[in-house]
């Protein structure tokens, strides 16, 4: 039986999630190649494909109308489309610009009128095409991606947690950031990363997005009362990776 064909595509992003895919180390990466046939992956190879694909990993957000046709062509050719990384899954960090109007002048000055800067709101790729599953995170968690691939190879729907990062912090007995006079977004952040940041003493920034029903008012309250944030800072704290979701919730 031929191996499933896997391809990677990128839109508005840093391509770091694709790099993450090459970080398994030789043994796991080469073992994985026994089970899938990577047909397009510009971070690691020069070939391209116009053939049908079994699994398309699409990185980056949908931020230019001009990209719609390419997304649609991927969708037409791919049996399964995975929004790969937070930019693709929710708009991610790119969505920070969505509530700004002055950034072009501010950032690019005299070059502000260049045509490639003429972008629309940064949206998840699901704003343009149907997405089957999402690999969350900035960057994705490579071990979770390995499980997603394993599940799909067996025709099983991937298991993506809908519980917050607190669950994973507690499972590994991490000292809570709030117990060390710090702040954290772990209570509303989707788990699946195994909570590495708080384990190293760094607050969770919710880079995998929110759980399905985040208690955002309670988050703001805790950030104000326990972390000493101003109301404004508390309200904006989760924007970095969740600007689109916060807008939808408000």
């Amino acid at each position: 039986m031929s191996k499933p064909k896997v391809a990677f595509f990128d839109f508005t992003c840093c391509e770091g999630c694709q790099i993450e895919f090459t970080n398994y180390g030789d043994a796991a990466f080469l073992e994985l190649l026994n089970h899938v046939d990577v047909v397009e992956f510009r971070e690691a190879m020069s070939e391209k494909t116009t053939e049908p694909i079994d699994i398309a990993f699409v990185e980056g957000s949908f931020s230019r109308e001009a990209d719609r046709a390419r997304l649609e062509s991927i969708r037409e050719r791919a049996a399964i489309v995975i929004a790969y990384g937070q930019c693709s899954a929710s708009g991610g960090i790119n969505a920070l610009k969505n509530h700004q109007s002055d950034y072009k002048q501010f950032v690019y000055g005299a070059d502000a009128e260049q045509p490639q800067l003429d972008s629309q709101k940064a949206q998840p790729i699901s704003a343009a095409i149907k997405v089957d599953y999402s690999a969350y995170g900035c960057p994705v968690n490579k071990y979770e991606v390995l499980q997603i691939v394993a599940h799909l190879l067996h025709g099983k729907e991937p298991v993506i947690p809908n519980y917050p990062v607190c669950v994973e912090c507690k499972r590994r007995e991490t000292v809570c950031r709030y117990d060390e006079a710090d702040h954290c977004l772990g209570m509303v952040a989707r788990a699946g990363c195994a909570a590495p940041c708080p384990a190293y003493g760094v607050p969770c920034e919710a880079c995998r997005g929110f759980v399905d029903h985040p208690n955002v008012p309670a988050l703001e309250k805790v950030l104000v009362e326990r972390a000493g944030f101003s109301q404004k800072r508390a309200a904006d704290k989760a924007l970095m990776f969740n600007a689109n979701d916060l807008e939808a919730l408000s």
Partner: protein, 280 residues
Amino acid sequence: MNHQCHWTDVENIFLPREATIVCSEQATPSETHFTLKMADGQPIEYEPGQIVELSLFGYGEIPIGIASSPTRKNTFDLVVRSVGRVSGAVTKLGKGESVYVRGPLGHGFDLTKLRGHDVLIVAGGIGLCPTRSLIQYILDRRDEFDRFVLFYGAREPSLQLFTDDLARWRTANDVEYYETVDRGDPSWTGNVGVITTLFPQVELGPETRAVICGPPIFYRFVVRELDMIGIPRENVFVDLERRMKCGVGKCGHCQINDKYVCVDGPVFPFADVQGLEEAF
């Protein structure tokens, strides 16, 4: 520090046994009817209404009520509705392939409470599957029971399960069978309406023992009918469905208030669960 340990001698309740698919039949567009035989030749011993945890390695386990009577030896039936990871994978399997089962688990129908009495079974949708274990049992040991009345409701004719059984029951003398569908189709000449529309069609006495199994909304309306007949609630038995993940009363997912459906049930006397706020 060496101590006498007996852990290696104790049966591991999470180790399943292999079963072979003897027959697999597409019952409805989303449901498959399997007949299984234990691979080691040792049949499982169960009571009507008990469940098994059905699994495929790599996919997981799901609780399924046994859909055949222990009076039919050597094999047992399960109907699997393709709704998730495990059921989706299992329903792709065919004759001769292996699945894995743990069980039987839980408490089934208390036959001592039903024998010697009129029995009414009210089944809705996939609720016909676990109750079929009791239906077959009664039909196989017909003289142990008095009158036997069976109500079955399905959403539409194409979603009716066990169509061979239904065809037999419609004309049989050993069961008074009544059926309805929520929505008919051009070929349907039977009753159309919710399950409660069957009650006026048959005379039932307050001594009847009643068994109910159906979707969550079903129970409240059926019990109201049974109340009107005057059937005491301790003579009403309900077969409940929850997320029975471990099947052995540990994992907590199937709890209704303080009851674990997988070990305290899935069959309960209605009187024992009617006061549980989370039951219906």
